[in-house]
């Protein structure tokens, strides 16, 4: 009878070989696990899963991002609104500036008109305010000097079919003592009753200094003329207000002189 507890020699060798193989495989497995462990140790650790009910980091970031996006949108809206408001204010400012300019222009125009009216009032007051012909002639001179702006003038009256010099200022009276009607611009203004204004072009040779000739009307007739020669240096040209003064002188100066004629108005006419 054989001993069953003793393994057969072949079977023992086979078992030993199997165990060695298993041992070898286990060694490889341990080495493989070590390598994997080292690799994983070198990699960043994965995020720890949040506890149930708590907000995760990505969610917080998301919420912050959304909040900032909302704020940005609101800020953009506010900027757009502010730009619109700025545009509106700019337009309003431009309107106000235009209005301001218009008011300034109106003020200047009103002041100029006021000065023009004051000139006419002063001229009228001076022409009719004097008691004598000398007063009236002095008033004519002052009006021409101070309101028109010339220190060279002569006043003529029609007498016996000619023009007689009755007053001169700033010009030699001898040369103008007596002029014929129709003779040069002064005579023609007396003959026709039309205002002469040189406007930069002299009427004829020898009349280079003549600026204007104002007929002095009394009713339908022309009683004389005022000749205005050179204007003051700082006054280059005549303007509308000067023409208004000329019209007033034409309508009132002759009459004022006639009314103060020592021979009486009827005799003078």
């Amino acid at each position: 009878m054989s001993d069953l507890r003793k393994p057969a020699p072949d079977a023992a060798k086979e078992r030993t070989r199997d165990l060695r193989e298993v041992n070898e495989r286990l060694k490889e497995l341990v080495a493989s696990l070590r390598t994997e462990k080292d690799r994983l140790g070198a990699e960043p650790h994965p995020a720890i899963p949040p506890a149930p009910g708590a907000t995760s980091v990505p969610e917080t970031l998301d919420l912050e991002k959304k909040r900032l996006a909302t704020e940005l949108a609101l800020a953009r809206e506010a900027v757009a609104h502010a730009q619109e408001e700025r545009e509106r204010l700019r337009e309003r400012l431009a309107e106000l500036e235009a209005e301001h300019r218009r008011i300034c222009d109106d003020y200047v125009a009103a002041q100029e008109k006021s000065t023009d009216l004051a000139q006419l009032y002063v001229a009228l007051e001076r022409l009719h305010g004097g008691a004598t012909r000398a007063d009236t002639l002095a008033a004519i001179q002052e009006i021409v000097v101070n309101l028109v702006g010339s220190e060279e003038l002569a006043v003529f009256e029609r007498r016996d079919g000619a023009l007689s010099l009755v007053h001169a200022f700033g010009v030699p009276p001898r040369a103008l003592d007596r002029l014929g009607l129709e003779q040069d611009a002064i005579g023609r203004a007396a003959a026709t009753g039309r205002l002469f204004v040189a406007n930069g072009t002299p009427a004829a040779p020898g009349e280079e200094d003549l600026t204007a000739v104002i007929p002095l009307r009394v009713g339908d007739s022309v009683a004389g003329v005022i000749a205005i020669f050179r204007l003051l240096g700082h006054k280059p040209v005549l303007d509308d207000s000067d023409h208004a003064v000329f019209d007033l002188l034409s309508a009132h100066a002759g009459l004022a002189l006639r009314l103060r004629d020592p021979r009486g108005p009827a005799a003078a006419g």
Partner: protein
């Protein structure tokens, strides 16, 4: 605000009336004199805040009147605007040399006069 007093000095009634017409639109008390000498006397008596002074006048011209005003303590600080028909540089320089503050030329421009009056009065 105190009403300002302005002394108008000119031998021409036309100019005085014109200045009155222009300045009467503003709240000023206006005093007049017919020549430089009377102007100096009125300036001492009335102590105006401003003087408008013609240049060519009988008895005493505007330059001399201005010099006299500058010599006296009571009037030396009063601003004087020369009103002249002669706009040439020489005339203006003479005006400044005599002590005037500013000048306007005749024919008077209402707007210019008002502006210079207000400027001299610090308004």
């Amino acid at each position: 605000m105190d009403r300002k007093k302005i002394l108008l000095v000119d031998d021409s009634s036309t100019v005085l009336l014109m200045e009155r017409m222009i300045l009467s639109k503003s709240p000023y008390d206006l005093v007049t004199a017919k020549d430089g000498q009377e102007g100096v006397e009125k300036a001492l008596a009335e102590r105006p805040d401003l003087i408008l002074m013609d240049v060519v006048m009988p008895r005493m011209d505007g330059y001399e009147a201005c010099r006299r005003l500058r010599e006296q303590d009571d009037t030396k600080a009063i601003p004087v605007i020369m009103v002249t028909t002669r706009g040439e540089l020489q005339s203006v320089e003479t005006g400044y040399a005599s002590g005037c503050t500013d000048y306007v030329t005749k024919p008077i421009n209402g707007l210019e006069l008002l502006a210079k009056v207000k400027s001299c009065l610090g308004q």
